[in-house]
Amino acid sequence: MNKTQTNAGVWRVVFAVFIALFMGIIIFPFFWILVTSIKPTNEIFGDGAYSIYAGRAVLDHYRTVIFEKEMLLSVWNSFVVSTTTTLYVVSIAILASYAISRFNFIGKNILLGLILVISMFPQMIVVGPIYNLFTALNLTNSYFVVLPYSTITLPAAVWIMVTHFNKIPLAIEESAKIDGATPFQTLTKVIFPLAAPGVFTTAIITFISAWNEYLLTITLNTNKEYHTVPVAVSFLRSQFEILWGQVSAATIVVTVPTLIVVLLFQKQIVSGLISGAIKE
């Protein structure tokens, strides 16, 4: 074995350790929360707090958060608002991105610049006026909160869709046009099937951003009935006595849906994140 090979071997080990450490740090909080969620309450405080297994596992905390604190209601609310947001935001984004990618019109750069600016500004700037609007129209404490969700989800959705449309060769469309298809038919019959993976990626990214939204919901939907996962979870913290067992169980319950989405759609998510940031 020569020196370079030994060196390469050493580096390989160093890299492997580094990656293992990284993975360990990512996973540790989840592991620790899981451990806490099945500990009896008296073991969470004092000396028992730092042991991995208390000798017996209990499901009390899960029972409390699911049946008494109605954590599943917040999961349902999150599901409703995220799905609705995804459906309307992706539809709007498809139309707009197709126009941006295919048509040349005056003001196109202004539209693009506007979308870019919206993706950058602090979300806090829309909250006051939206709150006043919703109070005036009596829309607080309702699922209408999905409408202002567009400020946070629409720019990214358009960005990702434009990237995907740009990858589809123009020639395909031109032949459709020669065959007499209207622009709308071209979009639905020819382009849409080709753009399906892009649409899917956009949908997943939109869904996750909507699922994670906190500021608008906590401001507009103060009623517990309409709390989404992030808001419901944050209220567990603000009680006088912090019941870490319940907090842990709730965290596990609400993380499961996200985990499923990530496991199933890992490839689409990565491609969506990258197409937002890297030009190909």
């Binding site: 806490t36 707009a96 126009a99 700037i125 006026p129 567009s150 965290t251 990530v262």
Partner: protein, 408 residues
């Protein structure tokens, strides 16, 4: 070539125009409008934005009637005839004035001369009444104080304009709490983004080499990014907890803090905690973005640099970095802006405490707007934040040459 948009083409962009106009552009314009008014929801005189002054007729009528009523009650105790006459005269004057607005019962706009007339009336009544009660100071009059209070209320029926121009901007520049929030925001942003970038770059370089098991590594890396910030903040607040938090205990055991309880209770400790939680959540995301950039680099370039005899460091500096620069800049820009407007993480983890040491601009603005219901001044803080964000974006695009638009 650009051309005028046809109707059919316009229909494609109509929905997005409608949605962003209502839910993004209009609110920004409205927020900017809030900043030039003394606009406070919990204060009756400032609960709306009044460019001109207006006249609250029902308030005026009610208070005028009370003045007449108190005068009548107190007149019964007066014996001197000329004083009685004076009571009668003022009573008549007040009632007459109240009668001329008794038909209306809401806020109305007044013409200049009318406003002057009412203001003169108020001043006259106040002067006369004060003089009258002064002249009869030896007599026991039951409503001596009440009548003063009612006259104060009467003055409030003319609601002045609460347009204040740029006064609030001057105020914010002298507001120490604003500067402290700005300092905290800049500290949080620069430290977290710097650590995230260095770690992310290192991880991406390694991940780019070790192709075995990349799928599982990528999946695990996505989890912190994908879970809601509020949820991750809560997880960390448990681990930082003085009584049962494992990280707090770990830090105390290795001597970073005096005792586990101290961790979240000292200003430095709380900021470090917020930064660690943010680094945990976003480093993997940063690594994935940079990895995406690395994978677009043509492998042939590395081979030829190896043939040319370039070392590892040389290759990194003259091939990897220049080709990676566009991807890195875009990732850094978006991360910086994200960190700058941080809200959820701090709101759940520390709420801005202890003693405002982790209070960022978003947290401060939200507290003013929804804690004190002062939408005017809260919006000023938000607009200042908006200006900072614009400055950061300009710095990236103009100075560092981040290219955001070329894709389309």
């Amino acid at each position: 070539m650009s051309k005028r948009i046809s109707l059919k083409e316009f229909l494609f962009i109509l929905p997005i125009l409608v949605i962003i106009s209502i839910f993004s552009i209009w609110p920004i314009v409205d927020s900017i409008k809030y900043t030039v008014f003394d606009y406070r929801l919990n204060d009756q005189q400032n609960s709306k934005m009044f460019l001109d002054s207006s006249f609250n007729t029902s308030g005026f009528n009610e208070n005028a009637k009370y003045i007449a009523y108190y005068l009548k009650k107190d007149m019964a105790f007066i014996e001197a005839g000329d004083q009685k006459q004076e009571f009668e005269r003022i009573m008549g004057y007040v009632s007459e004035m109240a009668a001329s607005y008794s038909e209306q019962n809401q806020n109305i706009k007044l013409s200049g001369s009318e406003a002057k007339k009412i203001e003169t009336f108020m001043a006259e009544v106040r002067a006369d009444v004060t003089k009258l009660y002064e002249a009869n100071r030896d007599v026991e009059l039951g409503n001596r104080e009440n009548i003063q209070l009612v006259m104060d209320d009467l003055d409030k029926s003319i609601i002045g304009s609460n347009f204040i121009g740029f006064t609030a901007y001057k105020q914010v520049l002298k507001d120490l709490r604003f500067w402290s929030a700005l300092k905290n925001t800049v500290l949080f942003t620069s430290v977290s983004v710097f650590i995230e970038f260095m770690l992310g770059l290192a991880l991406a370089m390694i991940m780019n080499k070790a192709m075995k098991g990349i799928g599982i590594i990528r999946t695990i890396s996505l989890i912190p990014w994908a879970i809601p910030t509020a949820v991750s903040a809560l997880m960390w607040s448990y681990m930082y907890d003085g009584g049962s938090g494992i990280i707090a205990k770990l830090f105390a055991d290795i001597g970073l803090v005096q005792s586990a309880e101290q961790l979240l209770l000292t200003s430095g400790g709380a900021m470090v905690c917020a930064i660690i939680a943010d680094v945990w959540k976003t480093t993997p995301y940063m690594a994935l973005l940079i990895l995406g950039g690395l994978q677009t680099i043509d492998g042939g370039l590395y081979e030829s640099s190896q043939i040319d005899g370039a070392g590892k460091i040389r290759t990194f500096l003259s091939i990897t970095m220049p080709l990676l620069k566009p991807a890195i800049l875009v990732a850094l820009l978006f991360r910086t802006l994200d960190a700058f407007r941080v809200y959820d993480l701090i709101a759940v983890l520390t709420g801005g405490g202890p003693g405002g040491s982790t209070e960022t601009l978003s947290i401060y603005a939200y507290k003013i707007m929804f804690g004190q219901t002062n939408f005017g001044y809260g919006s000023v803080v938000v607009v200042m934040m908006f200006i900072c964000v614009a400055a950061i974006a300009t710095l990236f695009v103009k100075v560092l040459g981040t290219d955001l638009m070329s894709k389309s």
